[in-house]
Subunit: 399 residues, 2 copies
């Protein structure tokens, strides 16, 4: 299916807004109760549900709990299983590092070794993030001719290193032996393409060990998940869209960058996002507006606070509507039920609002009300073709 | 899915009728209003909805607006994206030309050239269809040994040429340079298989230019979209069906021919179609009955007239029922909302009526009533397996 879209896109000025309430899907807190979304008062969004077509989507597939990056890829119209993202790139995107085509990223774990160089603790006693940041600062003095090097803390003992230069490749195997009592492996190329990068990684490790040598417990490092940016055709190539991301958090800017979106920087909150939407309205045809805190409150297990975040987004919706978008798609990238304190595999409600639609029986934004909508349960990556069709951006297939 | 059907089919005498209301899906004309189909009084079809299983289908895929040929291929059980149909064949089918396996069809545009042979207008001043028909008549005197040649007007400056003979191939590139101020390209084979056809096309062009030389503004021609009939296994091969098309319009006979259906010619209206259905009842196991005017009125933007056409089909339905078909499938090949005056990507309602089904909540033929049916939204090409199963024409898969 997806391949034919590329041949059908029509450039026009109609504007699509994708409003994502991160992790919006939820669960009732008690038997017979309502979910967070069903509890929230969302009068503005409910009007859009009345006028629009509704359903549930599965970002990745049946039973699959989406990570943030693949959840968003699906919403951008890319079946996530067709575009696997390596661990190093996930880490780089996760901290908002602006990784570029040709870069190679790898996860780094700080570790402890004994005098013979054997690993005694693969996590360096789980040093805190602040310590990790200090060590990254220390390692930023590593210098390798012809290569630009970035090393950044992720969380606890985890960091990420990015190599930038000519002729790099992710065809390098992990140095992490996945066991204690043995030495780390040397970086080995898994194919000839990876040989240069393996040599560079070896130089990096050698200099790093020198810098870390008195740094008990973090006197060693292990590398894993060498990865390049996957080759993802941009939203302009695939859909003819000029797209922009209005997101507060770095992770979501990262995944937007992956599909070639422009990014508006330094947005602090929904107010700033509304202002940026207005300022950029004439420049783009696709606007991704992201609200993080529905997910954060779900992960905190704070049902009431998640309800509050949903209501904040509802208050924000009129600021989108006053710009008169041609198509407004409201949904989430996955579910984050407060009772589970984590992402979950539950399908995610959506509302598609545009002029030429068939309003269905759904009259409010909720998991079970949207389940009664026209679309039933559909793959997340199919929302984009529906939005494109509603914006009259797809030509007829065949005569 | 589709590949396994071929190994499962069971020959029996049960009869399936596929009744297509072309472009039946619609949209409300005002906020809160009903669609054409929801407005139409369809008491006969509503009874079938009460007794049957209902849903919506997507002929090609999410967001994709179907052309007539691929829309019908889907209804005949062929996923249209698996059977692309080239431009020349689309043109030939579109004018009802009985194209055969081995024929090569190409689109011809009449054009204007200057004294040096450079194209000055790729559309010959958009000559009217009548003029185009005259020119085709003139070119019918072109004679190439060993090849039968047909040239027919399509619309305005567009025509189609069909070459029939031994060893032809569509591996020939366009002669249209897609620009003015340059000469047309010579027909070039894109692989050795196309060399004979390229030579024939060159002879055709050479003779045609001689005939057109005083014919300003149409003193040249450009060829594009050389195409052979796609290799589509027949409905007999795939489903074991003896099938016949009862259609008024040539396009629908054309697409029926593509899947190996027999064609009843010279049907003028639903009365004639009803009579032909009765006459042919004992000879076939699959009957495709097509009504064009629901689509035509939609394309005219005439909501009321489309409602009227739907009601005409409802009056016709008892003439099918009196023959006691084992399975009756009523649907459309796409939507043509009067408010859009064009084909659209909206899903299409269907009713499957047969003995051993589970009647669902749907009690009338409509977009939103069928959306509440058992099947939700399914791919159009899956309707045929449902009909075959209801006619007990598919064996068990596995032990």
């Amino acid at each position: 299916m997806q391949d034919i879209l590329k041949d059908l896109f029509i450039k026009n000025d109609k504007k699509i807004v994708l409003l994502v309430l991160d992790g919006v899907g939820g669960l009732p807190r008690e038997k017979g109760g309502k979910t967070e979304l069903e509890t929230a008062k969302t009068p503005n969004i409910d009007v859009l549900a009345c006028e629009g077509e509704c359903g549930l989507h599965l970002p990745i597939g049946f039973g699959i709990t989406p990570g943030s990056a693949p959840g968003h890829l699906a919403l951008f119209g890319y079946q996530p299983t067709d575009y696997p993202i390596g661990r190093g790139v996930v880490a780089a995107l996760g901290i908002g590092f602006p990784i570029q085509a040709g870069d190679v990223a790898a996860r780094v774990n700080f570790a402890t070794r004994d005098e013979e160089g054997r690993i005694t603790d693969r996590r360096a006693g789980r040093i805190p993030t602040e310590k990790c940041a200090e060590l990254c600062q220390l390692l930023s003095s590593v210098s390798i001719p012809g290569v630009e090097l970035f090393i950044q803390p992720v969380k606890d003992y985890r960091a990420v290193v990015i190599f930038r230069g000519e002729g790099l490749s992710d065809k390098v195997e992990d140095t992490d032996p996945q066991a204690t009592g043995v030495k780390p492996r040397d970086p080995q190329a898994s194919s000839t393409k990876g040989e240069k990068t393996a040599r560079i990684a070896a130089q990096f490790i050698s200099q790093a060990l020198e810098l870390l040598k008195d740094g008990q417990p973090a006197n060693a490092l292990l590398m894993r998940g060498f990865a390049e940016l996957p080759h993802i055709p941009s939203m302009r190539e695939r859909f003819g869209l000029d797209s922009v991301a209005l997101a507060v958090y770095p992770d979501y800017k990262g995944v937007s960058r992956l599909v070639g979106m422009d990014i508006v920087e330094d947005l602090e909150d929904l107010d700033a996002q509304a202002a940026a939407l207005r300022e950029n309205w004439d420049r783009y045809t696709f606007f991704f507006v992201h609200h993080k805190y529905t997910d954060s409150k779900g992960e905190d297990g704070d049902f009431e606070a998640k309800v509050g975040e949903i209501e904040k987004v509802d208050h924000f919706v009129p600021r989108i509507l006053e710009l008169k978008p041609d198509v407004l798609l409201i949904t989430g990238d996955h579910s984050t039920p407060a009772v589970m304190r984590a992402h979950s595999a539950h399908p995610v409600p959506f509302i598609l609002n545009a002029a030429n639609l068939r309003p269905d029986a759904t009259t409010e934004f909720g998991e079970r009300s949207c389940a009664k909508g026209t679309w039933g349960v559909i793959p997340g990556a199919k929302l984009m073709p529906l939005a494109l069709a509603a914006a009259e951006k797809l030509a007829k297939f065949g005569a």
